[in-house]
């Protein structure tokens, strides 16, 4: 087990900068998700941790040891590939035994270790099966077992669930999380699926365009996005953002949204940061934290589309720049063409600087 420190990590491919100055500390035994859309640099980061790629500049430390430049076979890194990369021409046993065998471990020891890891992963009855006819969750276990047998300092997982159908993904997530608890290993998990990151990770690193956007627990990145990108990216649907200017009113500090009117008063925690700002701001609130209100007590907007998804109903209001979504009860009696008045829950409101995109917070 070991902590990971990335220091000023930069990766360029020719003129293209895949990763811009990344600093990240991953604690010993932590499950860290690297989350972001395609091309955000998350896989590049992982490949550099694994040693498949060398950084253009910067350092990678495992604990105190500088791993930069150490070839990938000697880093003691367990890696689970997107498609698991199981050796299909071998049996499960041969897959598990591969690492120790290549390192020249004695046969008795290999057998003992394979036996132990198979027992732990419930693979014992499958040991002599050919690895080309296994179901995905067994493949996942073999892939993890094959790496775990080497007792790696850290485990890297590259979108292992992306080839699995949606229904099965929930099963795999649970299993993976349980395995991580069992092994107590530092795990870095690359994904573009926020649900995976939210459900499994201790902390999430959100990335976009090679830039680290925010590091925090799942609730932190959901509740307190550091910037507009994180606000929009996390949550399904993402945070609503409306353009306006701060204004004083008799009820307190509000945001003047122009034709949409003014918002309810901002929560006291952020008034200090927003008061006195002259430029444009983005008024943000979670679609899930919206209630219907009486006229004059919220934002009045036309209903454009009603999306009933079973448990909840998503109401699309307004259009263009001033489009927002509200996730309401499934039996909400709104239809297209009506006007709804929505009131964001005060504690969920966040305000972002429209110019920099950064969250405006006190202190």
């Amino acid at each position: 087990m070991s902590a990971i420190h990335l220091q000023n990590l930069v990766k360029k491919f020719g003129d293209f900068t895949a990763l811009k100055t990344m600093d990240l500390a991953i604690a010993d035994g932590e499950f860290m998700a690297l989350l972001g859309p395609s091309g955000c640099g998350k896989s590049t980061t992982m490949n550099m941790i694994a040693g498949m790629e060398e950084p253009t500049s910067g350092k990678i430390l495992f604990g105190e040891r500088d791993m930069t430049g150490v070839p990938m076979g000697r880093r003691g890194v367990g890696f689970v590939f997107q498609n698991y990369a199981i050796f299909t021409h071998m049996s499960v046993r041969q897959n598990l035994a591969y690492g120790p065998k290549m390192r020249g471990a004695p046969k008795a020891e290999i057998d003992r270790r394979v036996g132990a890891i198979a027992e732990m992963l419930q693979l014992t009855p499958l040991l002599d099966r050919k690895a080309d006819r296994l179901s995905v969750n067994i493949l996942q276990r073999v892939a993890i077992g094959r790496s775990a047998i080497m007792e790696p300092a850290i485990f890297l997982l590259d979108e292992p669930l992306s080839n699995v159908d949606a229904a099965f993904r929930a099963v795999m997530r649970t299993e993976l999380k349980q395995l991580q608890r069992q092994f107590r290993q530092t795990m870095v998990y690359v994904t573009h699926d926020q649900l995976e990151a939210m459900t499994m990770a201790d902390r999430i690193t959100v990335m976009d365009h090679g830039v680290l956007q925010q590091v925090g627990t799942p609730l932190e990145v959901y509740n307190d996005p550091a910037n507009v990108f994180v606000a929009r990216f996390i949550g399904a649907p993402g945070m609503n953002l409306l353009r306006g200017r701060p204004a004083e009113s008799d009820r307190g500090l509000v945001v003047d949204l122009g034709p949409l009117g003014v918002t309810p008063p901002l929560p006291v925690e952020i008034t200090a940061a927003v008061r006195g700002v002259r430029g444009e701001v983005l008024y943000g609130f979670r679609p899930e934290q919206v209630t219907l209100a009486e006229s004059g007590r919220g934002l009045s907007m036309p209903v454009n589309f009603v999306e009933r998804i079973g448990a909840r109903t998503i109401i699309h209001l307004g259009d263009g720049e001033a489009a927002v979504k509200a996730v309401l009860d499934n039996d909400v009696a709104l239809s297209v063409g009506q006007t709804a008045v929505i009131a964001p829950a005060a504690q969920s409101v966040r305000v972002f600087d429209a110019a920099t995109g950064l969250a405006m917070k006190a202190g």
Binding site: M102, D132, S147
Partner: protein
């Protein structure tokens, strides 16, 4: 309307229709593949030759009680030609395979000038074998470039009569074959090599396998099918080695480089005993077919494992 159900009878109908539709093609195949074989078998049981003045269909009047086959068993020249052919194959095919594999491994990675070398490497395969034969005939003359190079390297005038010495002639012939057919091996093996899943190689690396271990435990097993195909193609082709060799040595000196094909050619054009030739050809066909079936079986099993 009634729902149409696929009853067994209906399926039989389909099979019958299919048979009728493919019948013309099947007849064609019969003529191309099976008829010549039967004709060959028929002639091989007789003393027929074009000089007999009979049409081949009348060959039955020259029936010789399997004399061709009993002669064949006792034909020392045939057996030594067969042995020679086997020796050439046992040396050439593995040499071509190892060289091809080494080159394929080299060319699987990117390097400066890779495309140019790649094209150059494939050229020998495209040279007409007769031209290649003439080329090597010139190269191995006692005053030819091979001796010139050896002279320059050793500092002594070298005047080896390559194609007049029984052993050296055989070596020269094998060098020509390896030169011409290593590229084919290289091409097939390269296709197999780039098809090995990159992820599994990376996984092996991460698990601590060095490049030789990766090659033995991952790359070679994954290439098994294609290796068998490549070897099967070359074994069959090499067994029939003829054109380049014949132009270089004519099977000589004496019979020192006389392979099965050369022997058959001489029997056909000089001795004109076609019944006997048919018997030899049939015997070889049977041997090669057994080898091919064996290779196919291995291949099917390998494919099953790799699927």
């Amino acid at each position: 309307m009634k729902a149409v159900q696929a009853k067994p009878a209906l399926r039989d109908e389909g099979a019958k229709l299919g048979f009728r539709l493919t019948l013309p093609a099947q007849i064609l195949v019969l003529f191309i593949a099976v008829f010549p074989l039967l004709m060959q078998l028929y002639i091989s049981l007789t003393d027929w030759s074009p000089l007999s003045g009979l049409g081949w269909w009348n060959a039955w009047s020259l029936w010789n009680n399997f004399a061709n086959y009993t002669d064949l068993a006792a034909d020392a020249r045939f057996w030594s030609a067969l042995k020679r052919t086997a020796i050439v194959m046992i040396i050439c095919v593995p040499a071509e395979f190892l060289l091809g594999l080494a080159l394929a491994t080299l060319f699987a990675d990117e390097f400066l000038g890779r495309r140019v070398f790649y094209s150059i490497l494939l050229m020998p395969m495209m040279v007409v074998p007769a031209v290649a034969g003439y080329m090597f005939f010139m190269l191995f003359q006692s005053g030819g470039p091979v001796n010139d190079i050896l002279s320059a390297l050793s500092g002594f005038p070298v005047t080896i009569a390559w194609l007049s010495d029984p052993t050296l002639a055989l070596i020269a012939v094998m060098i020509a074959d390896i030169w011409q057919w290593t590229p084919l091996m290289f091409l097939i093996l390269l296709a197999g090599l780039v098809g090995v899943p990159e992820d599994q190689i990376k996984a092996a690396t991460l698990l601590g396998a060095n490049s030789w271990q990766r090659f033995v435990t991952i790359v070679l097993p994954k290439m098994k099918t294609i290796i068998i195909i490549a070897l099967a193609i070359r074994v069959i082709e090499n067994f029939k080695i003829f054109d380049t060799l014949y132009i270089m040595t004519g099977g000589g000196p004496g019979v020192a480089t006389e392979t099965i094909s050369v022997y058959i050619y001489k029997l056909t054009t000089q001795d004109l005993i076609w019944g006997y030739v048919a018997a030899i050809a049939l015997a070889i066909l049977i041997v090669l077919s057994i080898a091919a079936v064996f290779a196919m079986k291995r291949m099917a099993r390998a494919r099953e494992v790799l699927a």
